[in-house]
Amino acid sequence: MSGTALGEFKDSAALSLGVELELQLVSRRDYDLTRGATDLLGSMDYDGRFGEIKLEITESMIEISTQAQASVDGIAADLAGLRDTLHSHCARNNIGVCGGGTHPFHHWPERRICPGDRFHGLYQRYGYLAKQFTVFGQHIHVGCTSADEAIWLTQALGVHVPAFIALSASSPFVDGVDSFYQSARLNAVSAFPLSGQCPALDSWQQFTEHFAFLQACGIAEGIKDLYWDVRPKPEFGTVEIRVCDTPLAIEQAIALAALAQSLCRWLLRTRPPLHTAKQAHVARYNKFQACRYGLDAMLSDPVALCQVSLRESLARLLDDISEDARELGCLHWLSPLKQMVVDNAGDAAWLRAQFAQHGNLHDVVRAASERLMRQNNDSRGVTP
């Protein structure tokens, strides 16, 4: 039963990577979100060499997804290729593309749902939430050699969700105002009934039983209905980290992929004890802390029964996984993250600085759009 809905777990190469980025389509006249996705895809002459460019729920979003790659540098090459492809096609259609987890001032009732049965079904099911879901995230897939490994990593990565949120946070503005959050995007996601964390499950067998239970209760029909922070993706043979905001530049997206790959290698190598039942009690609180305060968050440790600074624990973690990053050939991509932990210069801070400089959010989006399209290539490809 569940096997039909979930499909077989397709084993993939250990620690292989794939990245999906949801991007904003903006009018070049006023930098508000615009209706452009179907027009853009309809006129696109692209052979898919760097991965896919796809529709998302509303017409103001577009998703790019890399091919499965063994290395972070492969992801970097794909993302640069996808960005440049999108750039040239958007230029022909006079549309701007922008990163960031939320559009700072768009009016959600104006959003148009994309054509297609799936999107229509989501709109009918979730009503206005579907339009409010015009938020933009980065999803990172890490290849697993077995279904049980994917479930174990889903649990193990859950503890590190606040780190991914804080490092990617790029959505401080919502509805034209400063939300005080570093990442306000996840508040839109948490409105969905199946958002949150994967329950404490120990194996693929337990996961399929849990999914069959959800199916029998009429709650979920497929894996796509589970809007968990981290979830297994059987059809790709991966575990998928879904909590990151789309960064303002692809270099940060690549660095986050490097973090995911190195962290998974370190976790699988050291197999730390998980305490999943205890972590479940503090997961939502810790997630809120990371969304609200970013690297300044104070996280609850349910094992040591104390609060710990995310900045300090993240600095230690980045040191711990450095050896694994070196082995994987992506240590150079962790440097900007280490620097960010020290000087606090994340995307949310950058957006607030732009607002302070320009005094209006239209210019903030213009600057962000220019930043995404700025190429940082050298002869070796994209560099941190």
Binding site: R29, D39, T58, G116
Partner: protein, 424 residues
């Protein structure tokens, strides 16, 4: 008709005026504010009624109100009333033309050269085919045939903008309709200035006027438009972006340019279009880029289209003139469709043809240009320009419907995209 209605009132008033010292003389003309209000309410009611009951674009209702109450039918809006309302019409048209000028994004042509090809094809084919039709099939002189082509070659910026706003349309078809309209308007204005000289040369053989008048029009519009945009940017720089104060500055500078243009006998539509283009081109700090006209510009637009409707010469209608105008519109439609079919820059053919349909409107600017040219030599001009005026009169009604249909078929109107998907 109006006279017979107010005659009893006038008689009573005049009998009282000798005894009641405070009474002013019986008003011979309607007060400007009262006129504005009447035009607004009649147009508004007709537009809203047609929109609610027949789903027609509101602009058609405004124009019909003008035709109904204008000199052609009921005569409640007389020729003098039209002259009195002209400043309001100029202000309304000016603001809309400035908006079109601000939206002229020439950098898009640089990024998509195929678009340049389609806009040039639209301009070239429309002018050439209309000129040939007027010269050979209608039998106008070369100068008046050129004048006819200059006046009718472009789409109607005011109609297009209002239809797009009313439909809340967004997408490639919408954007390209606006771009084509703005560029063809610019080309039409250049042709108009050139034709001014040609008409002088043909009708009076006065070479001084033939040379100096186009220069006066173009240079005057450029200087006044330049002054308006410079002032607006200069003052707005000191104000917060998108503030209400900036909106007021923008409107005030536009009205100043309208006023100066009227004083210098420089066409308002050209002046304000250039002001909009210059505003966009020299706004390097994005001072006014995001500042939008207040919704109140709809107020002026309603009055504009009631006046345009009333200005249309339906009382001079003959079947021959009607057929000739219909022929011109068909030739013009073919030219625009052919241009878009030939090239359209990264848009599938069905959508390009929808762009061709969306740029069919012909309206206020054409009527104002025609009257501007006709006023040079009133004894011949009015009859010579019957053709474009009737073409505009027909398109006043069909144009908004065609533009709206194109936007709806493209799936870019609000509440129609997504769920239905539009055409591929």
């Amino acid at each position: 008709m109006i006279e017979s209605l107010i005659a009893p009132l006038r008689a009573v008033w005049e009998s009282l005026i000798e005894r009641l010292l405070f009474l002013p003389p019986f008003p011979e003309s309607i007060d400007a504010l009262a006129l504005f209000s009447l035009l607004l309410v009649t147009g508004l009611l007709m537009g809203e009624w047609l929109h609610a009951h027949a789903r027609w674009p509101k602009v058609i209702g405004y124009v019909l109100a003008g035709i109904l109450f204008g000199p052609s039918l009921l005569g409640w809006i007389g020729v003098e009333t039209l002259a009195q309302a002209r400043p309001i019409a100029d202000a309304a048209l000016g603001l809309l033309m400035m908006e079109v000028g601000r939206r002229l994004d020439l950098s898009w042509l640089r990024r998509n050269p195929e678009l340049l090809r389609s806009t040039l094809a639209d301009i070239g084919l429309s002018f050439a085919l209309i000129f040939a039709f007027a010269l050979w099939l209608v039998g106008l002189s070369p100068a008046w045939a050129a004048a006819t082509a200059a006046v009718t070659m472009a789409s109607a910026p005011a109609v297009v903008l209002l239809t797009v706003e009313e439909s809340r349309a967004q997408g490639q078809v919408t954007e390209r309709i606006i771009l084509h309209t703005a560029i063809s308007s610019a080309a039409s204005f250049v042709a108009f200035a050139f034709v001014l000289g040609v008409v002088h040369a043909e009708l009076s053989e006065d070479w001084l006027n033939a040379v100096v008048h186009p220069i006066w029009v173009v240079t005057g519009a450029l200087l006044v438009g330049g002054l308006g945009s410079w002032l607006a940017l200069r003052i707005a720089r000191a104000l917060p972006k998108r503030s209400l104060a900036q909106v007021f500055v923008l409107v005030a500078c536009a009205l100043l340019a309208v006023g100066i243009a009227r004083m210098l006998a420089v066409p308002v539509f050209l002046t304000l279009f250039l002001m909009g283009v210059l505003l966009a081109a020299f706004d390097r700090r994005q001072t006014l880029r995001y500042t939008e006209l207040p919704d109140g510009h709809w107020l002026l637009a309603i009055v504009l289209f009631v006046i345009v409707g009333a200005s249309l010469p339906w009382q001079e209608f003959t079947w021959l003139a009607g057929l000739q105008a219909l022929g011109l519109l068909l030739v013009r439609a073919a030219a625009k469709a052919a241009a878009l079919a030939w090239s359209g820059g990264s848009l599938p053919l069905p959508k390009r043809l929808l762009v061709g349909m969306g740029i069919q409107p012909l309206s206020a600017t054409a009527v104002f240009m025609a009257y501007e040219l006709a006023s040079l030599y009133p004894e011949v001009g009015r009859s010579a320009l019957t053709l474009p005026l009737f073409a505009a009169a027909m398109m006043e009604l069909a144009g908004p419907a065609l533009c709206r249909l194109a936007l709806r078929r493209s799936g870019e109107c609000e509440n129609e995209a997504g769920e239905r998907g539009g055409i591929a």
